[in-house]
Amino acid sequence: MTEEKKNSRKKIQATDKMNALMSDYFYDLDAAAKSSSRKVAWCTSVGPAELLRALGFAVHFPENHAAMLGATRTSTDLIPEANAIGYSPDICSYLTADIGAYLKGFTPLAKAYPGIESVPRPDVLVYNTNQCRDVQDWFSWYSKELGVPAIGITSPKNVNVVTEAHISDVANQIEALIPTLEEISGTKLDMERLKEVVSLSRECTELWKKVLETATASPAPLSFFDGTIHMGPAVVLRGTREAVEYYKVLLAELEQRIAERVGAVDGETVRIYWEGMPVWGRLRQHSELFSSLKATVIASTYCSSWIFPAFDGDDPIRSMAKAYLELFIVRSDEYKGGYIKEMLEKFHIDGIIYHDAKTCPYNSNNRYGMPQRLEAETGIPSLVISGDLNDLRCVSDEQTKTNIEAFIEQLEEGK
């Protein structure tokens, strides 16, 4: 295998439109934080964003901000700031990077969007522990620091089958948030508006699913690395008309690529599934490494986690509860194994790569024998790479490169 091969990745034309959309979103958030009339809520990525939007809050997602710190490779310098005040290097590096950024008075938003000086100051912090316990600790720190309430939903973990009892529990918790949120927003919840927002979230999610499923085509018109960028609106603008319109444009472009047999990578020979978080600070390097090896990372659990088939405008609160509970990360290993197997089949996968993220046990699904079990059941080879989502001190580039190259060699030899 030659060391330096020409990079053959293809730019998605809709990217410019997405960048404009994200820009509008951040400027709107900034304007809300600077106004006396609009309120800002911080929300975990699969928290009750629909409820917050229906109440008129501008919604900021600290996980999105933390991913930006990772992608801009600033997080590794910021994490030690949080370590020094007692937040271990072994816990979520989203949390430590974001708190570290606050302590240093830094945000990548300031460089990307002139006029924005800081992340929008919150009026309320709303979490859902379906992601992990760390989000609650994260918001609790800001609550004390900024003197704003942190409220949220405590979700069950390791759910095998989502039952009516689970849904009722979470739906009750969502309803219990409403009086506090109404008081902070100064707005009475309009159920019709909530239905509309939930319907838009459903529409967004269906389009996002179709976008990701274009990669079932061969060659795949988009890669996991494209997905990590283009999922932005699905994360921060869920429940808005703008997100829906954007994914219509993106989907049309990808369908055009399929019609013209244009792949995300030239000469795709190997199709990979990525299980776990991206290494945000190495997106470009990893993308180029795979494309130089004529391999496409076709699909991932991570990007697919923003598909919520349960959203139903006719039953907004219970369907929100169900959607938040059906999230992959909340589920048992038995469920996760079945889900990944379906994905391997659907996307015609040759090999699976598990990213063992040092600071994110919840998204590292290699630690309880999953690779060995799935390999035995499917015959599809697997590789585990060590790394992290944000803390580049936990990343060994040479080891990653050797592992991935050797894995692609193995898959090619096996064909």
């Binding site: 030659t2 060391e3 330096e4 080879p381 585990v384 060590s386 936990c394 080891q399 050797t402 050797a406």
Partner: protein, 273 residues
């Protein structure tokens, strides 16, 4: 009399290894040198030493393939590289056809590679981002104990009451070693405990199949580690004649692979010759 030769260069983190083989894949020449700070310089020196041993010159090279961390640093002689995992697999399958598990203990990495009966890789594992169980761990302990690396094998063999180290962190293990020294333990027992620790760290990486092959500089220089491993896994370990050269030989075999198009390497000016 000169003849066409194929060359494999394994530019590892700790040592550079070069193997020269003939058209039948027979080893004609080889060399091993400390990597130092310049892969290119050491690679060139190793190449020339192994060619001299083979009675060949650079103009006799039909094709060369590189591997190891410095595989991109020898473009003066080769434009093709393979991973060390692929080369170890190729080299070991050459010596031991059939299904095998390869345990490679290198200067910085450990690898467990499983091959099926046809010699294709079915899986591989590398150590995590930790030097425990690698040659780097032995080098660290050699420094701490002020014992030359080459004396460790003999010392371990003299042990009558091995001291087991509990930690799998190199730094914590060093602390344990110091504690043993303070407590007046025999150096030979400590060294055997260090060897035991290396083997344990490797064995916890993956399960083994019936036939096990060991390679790498650590086992080449410390045959007692192989004997200890045999006792621990309760089976005979297969060892190539030159365990440290397995990757370089694999690279040379890739160079002569008839499935691959053979490019005669243009012998551009060697920047360091």
């Amino acid at each position: 009399m000169s003849q066409p030769v194929f060359v494999g260069l394994d530019l590892g983190a700790s040592r550079v290894k070069v193997a020269v083989v003939d058209l039948q894949g027979q080893l004609l020449g080889h060399a091993v040198k400390k990597t130092g700070t310049d892969f290119t310089v050491t690679g060139a020196a190793c190449l020339d030493a192994s060619l001299e041993m083979a009675g060949a010159t650079r103009s006799d090279i039909v094709k060369a393939v590189s591997t190891g961390y410095g595989r991109a640093n020898v473009s003066f002689i080769t434009q093709e590289s393979r991973t060390e995992i692929g080369c170890l697999a190729k080299g070991c399958h050459h010596f031991f056809p059939g299904a095998i598990t390869i345990i490679d203990i290198g200067g910085q990495d450990n690898k467990i590679i499983k091959l099926n009966a046809a010699g294709n890789r079915s899986s591989f594992k590398m150590n995590r981002k930790c030097a425990a169980g690698t040659g780097a761990f032995l080098e660290e302990m050699s420094l701490r104990l002020d014992i030359p690396l080459e004396e460790m094998n003999g010392l371990a063999r003299q042990s009558e009451n091995m001291i087991k180290l509990g930690s799998y962190c190199t730094v914590f293990s060093a602390t344990e070693v110091l504690e043993s020294i303070r407590n007046g333990k025999q150096v030979s027992d400590i060294v055997k405990g260090i060897f035991y620790s290396v083997i344990k760290r490797v064995l916890e990486m993956d399960s083994l199949t019936d036939r096990v092959v060991m390679t790498g500089g650590v086992v080449a220089n410390n045959p007692y580690i192989v004997e200890m491993t045999e006792k621990m896994i309760e089976r005979k370990v297969l060892l190539p004649e030159y365990p440290q050269l397995a990757g370089a030989i694999g690279a040379a075999l890739y160079a002569m692979d008839p499935k691959k198009e053979i490019d005669v390497v243009p012998h551009t000016a060697d920047p360091v010759a």
